[in-house]
């Protein structure tokens, strides 16, 4: 079953096309790693999938429903951790978590179950829920969002760079939970630029560049695609660098390439370096 599907998805802000014909496909039970540099369109994709942005053209569906029109019914089965976690400064972390659990699970049995998981998550993430949100560090704000998302029992989890503020120990805790969710057959959409994390957690990977999906497949497929005869299979990092390295050597003469070339040229020996 397909969980996320976009076809020729375009999202323009004025003249700038943040998404420029994105074709994306995530199947149920996959842990999908969505990678790309800053500004490639990762967060725009997530915001469009969540119905916060309205697509300029093309289609975006989640669980087969339209991401914009059917946002509310989609969201009943989605838990989301934003990239920049902004919390209400005067509320405590515990209040924020409860609030989100109630918005998603109401107040019945589902909420009681979520409350039980909340306590376990607070303990494992070593988060003090009684502190006011304004005094949390970046990592602790991220923990609040993670607890609020992981305590809910949903079908799809969307994480936007969830570990950028976590220490290595907490990163490990997060990875354990991802493995747990995966074992339960749930779908995970993980946007990240920490390539080692994607390599460790994800079974399928998509690379986004200038609003287009330029690589898509299982980790193995990607590595084989970029294999050089007689060398060991490349790591995800090497695949990523090759994908972007081709940009530097390509013949398209747009401004950005010129910039990359000039950066690249700095490392080249100058022909007449000794002349005066």
């Amino acid at each position: 079953m397909t969980v996320i599907e976009t076809h020729d998805l375009v999202k323009a802000f004025g003249k700038l096309k943040a998404l420029d014909g994105l074709d994306l496909n995530v199947e149920a039970g996959q842990v999908f790693g969505f990678i790309g540099p800053n500004g490639a369109g990762k967060t725009t994709t997530i915001r469009t999938l969540l119905g916060v942005y309205k697509a300029t053209s093309g289609t975006a569906t989640v669980f087969g429903q339209d991401a914009w029109k059917d946002a509310v019914s989609i969201h009943e089965q989605v838990a989301y951790v934003p990239g920049d976690v902004n919390l209400w400064p005067t509320m405590s972390g515990g209040e924020v978590i409860d609030f989100f659990l109630r918005l998603r699970d109401g107040s019945g049995a589902a909420y009681a179950a979520a409350q039980a998981r909340r306590e376990e998550l607070l303990k494992n993430f070593e988060l003090d829920p009684t502190k006011k949100c304004r005094s949390y560090s970046k990592g602790n704000r991220q923990k609040v969002a993670l607890v609020a998302a992981l305590a809910s029992d949903t079908d799809l989890y969307i994480f936007d760079e969830p570990t950028s503020g976590l220490d290595p120990l907490m990163e490990k805790v997060f990875q354990n939970y991802v493995a747990e969710i995966k074992a339960a057959g749930k779908t995970i959409f993980l946007s990240s630029h920490i390539l080692s994390e994607v390599e460790r957690l994800c079974d399928t990977v998509g690379i986004i560049r200038k609003g287009k999906l330029v690589e898509h497949g299982t980790l193995e497929e990607l590595r084989q695609r970029w294999e050089v005869k007689g060398e060991a299979l490349p790591s995800l990092e090497e695949v990523f660098m090759k994908q972007y390295g081709d940009e530097i050597h390509s013949d398209e003469g747009d401004e950005e390439n010129e910039l990359h070339k000039s950066i690249f040229a700095q490392y080249m020996p100058k022909k007449k370096a000794g002349d005066r």
Partner: protein
């Protein structure tokens, strides 16, 4: 001393002042304009209302009404010293100083704790900058800003010399000095508070409480000297008089500009400012960056039961603010109510005022007087409703809305919640104000028709359609023009001046009468002086609904924005 060895705790304070002032320019500029307008409005309005000194003299008695003294400060004028300059400034100085105090609290907290909270100071502190440099530069900035404000008001008042000879240069300078020294005292007090409070928000709250306490303290002292004989000698005096002097706000008006032009209160205030600043510096040495001397309060581990929907969230976020506004409405209602008790006799005893205010349709003269002030009630009641609609805007720009909308919550539900809240609040605020007015009237009046609750409700409630139109205007901006929401306050402010001052100066001017109707408040008749018609209410309500529907529609169509 060589640069590398300069380890002063104030190092580079001068440079920081420059950058701080640059950031301050837009914010303090607004205060500067408002204070100048406020300073000029009093004298000019008096000149427009009373064209002879005799009629002006009769106004002294009004100013001596306890409720007026409580609000505007002691009356230093007597029959001999009365002049447009003296009365206009005597009437306005205390309120202006109150604003100067609030401005300085906000300024100092913004430059110290707010900067720390946003992490800006952490980078600055890593540079070769002394530990006290930021506080030092903030206070130097306060000297500059307060000096600027006092110079501008001095010049503005001195220019009024062309309107009336009583605006002497010496008086204008004395008036400006009151601004300068009072501002510095509160800047230094804010500097102390900023070291103690645990957050910038807390510092602002404590600072405003200190201002409020000083404002109230002086009331007791001021009451003791309100009754002045024609020769200028104080008739009543009590042991509480010192309370006027221990409050910087009370002392700040004792220079008596345009009457006695005394300097000594300002010298005392300047010394106090220096002492407070030294204390602030001593405390600043003892605390860490972004931490106050009192620890932060803990939050609760679980959410309260009502926090289960967007509607509950609005209450969680706005609760304290709304309770504060309810208290303000009670205060305004009680203040006007207490005037009702004395204004009747006063009007009857003055030939000038009994000409101005006449009983209408069997309504007592007190009612007529208060009907003219109702627009102020409506304006104050309008602010909390607009704050609620604008809260949705700040929730959107802080990316909170973004997050809430990724849960099963409809967009329509979110914006509808805020609008319903705003509409309910408008009704509640108006109800509180009218009940407070009625209760005070029960105590202080006994005239016919003065105890009729329904009449008070009617007098204020007729402004509700105008408030709804303002809610609609704000909703239109929040939904359809989220980058221009500040226009809502500009419109409220301009509209208020147009209506309030327009009614005083322009109501008989054929060509400029329309200015009054710029704001929705100008369309509401001053009941019971003027009869009620149905159509202004229908039209204003319709405009409010149309604007709200447009705001909702636009919000449902667009991307969420992030500030």
């Amino acid at each position: 001393m060589a640069q590398g060895t300069n380890n002063s705790i104030f190092r580079n304070a001068g440079r920081l002042t420059g950058s701080a002032l640059k950031r301050e320019l837009s914010k303090s500029g607004i205060w500067l304009v408002c204070l100048t307008i406020l300073t000029l409005v009093g004298p000019i309005e008096l000149k427009g209302l009373y064209n002879t000194l005799d009629s002006l003299r009769s106004f002294i008695t009004v100013m001596q009404i306890p409720a007026m003294v409580a609000m505007l400060g002691p009356v230093f004028l007597n029959e001999k010293t009365v002049s447009y300059a003296a009365m206009g400034t005597n009437e306005m100085l205390l309120l202006s100083l109150l604003l100067v105090a609030i401005m300085n609290i906000f300024y100092v907290v913004r430059q110290t704790r707010k900067e720390e909270e946003q992490g800006n100071l952490e980078i600055v502190r890593s540079l070769p900058v002394g530990r006290l440099a930021n506080l030092g530069s903030t206070l130097i900035g306060a000297v500059v800003i307060n000096a600027l404000i006092s110079i501008v008001t001095t010049v503005a008042l001195a220019l009024l010399h062309t309107m009336d000879a009583s605006f002497t240069f010496a008086g204008a300078v004395n008036y400006g000095m009151a601004f300068f020294v009072t501002g510095l005292v509160f800047a230094a007090i804010a500097a102390i508070v900023a070291q103690i409070a645990s957050t910038s928000r807390g510092a602002n709250t404590i600072g405003l409480i200190v201002v409020a306490v000083f404002y109230v303290i002086r009331i007791f002292g001021d009451f003791a000297v309100t009754v002045v004989s024609p020769s200028g000698a104080t008739i009543a005096s009590s042991s509480l008089k010192f309370m006027s002097y221990i409050s910087p706000l009370g002392l700040g008006v004792q220079g008596q500009p345009f009457i006695k032009n005394m300097i000594w209160p300002y010298v005392v205030l300047l010394l106090a400012a220096i002492v407070f600043a030294v204390i602030a510096f001593a405390l600043a040495q003892r605390r860490d960056l972004d931490a106050g001397l009192i620890p932060e309060r803990q939050g609760s581990e679980h959410a309260p039961a009502y926090l289960r929907s967007n509607f509950g969230l609005i209450w969680r976020l706005m609760k304290n603010q709304l309770i504060g506004w309810a208290i303000v409405m009670v205060a305004v209602g009680a203040t006007y109510g207490s005037i009702l008790g004395v204004i009747g006799n006063f009007i009857k005893s003055s030939t000038f005022f009994s000409g101005l205010f006449k009983p209408v349709d069997g309504y007592p003269v007190e009612m007529v007087f208060i009907a003219l002030l109702m627009v102020v009630f409506a304006l104050v009641a309008c602010v909390p409703s607009m704050l609620i609609v604008l809260k949705m805007h700040s929730e959107e720009f802080n990316a909170h809305l973004d997050w809430i909308l990724t849960t099963p919550v409809k967009r329509l539900r979110v914006i509808a919640d805020y609008l319903i809240y705003a509409l309910i609040t408008s009704v509640v605020m108006v109800a509180i104000a009218s009940v407070a007015l009625w209760l005070t009237a029960l105590v202080v009046t006994n005239g016919p028709g003065m105890h009729n609750l329904w009449l008070y409700i009617k007098m204020i409630a007729i402004y509700l359609p105008a408030i709804w139109a303002m809610i609609g205007f704000t909703a239109m901006l929040v939904g359809g023009a989220p980058r221009n929401t500040l226009s809502a306050w500009s419109y409220l402010g301009v509209g208020f001046y147009a209506t309030y001052l327009g009614r005083v100066f322009l109501s008989n001017n054929k060509h400029w009468k329309w200015v009054i109707k710029i704001s929705p408040f100008g369309w509401i008749p001053e009941y019971p002086i003027n009869p009620l018609h149905v159509w202004p209410f229908v039209i204003l309500t319709a405009i409010g609904i149309v604007l709200m529907v447009y705001g909702v529609y636009a919000f449902l169509q667009r991307d969420l924005e992030i500030g």
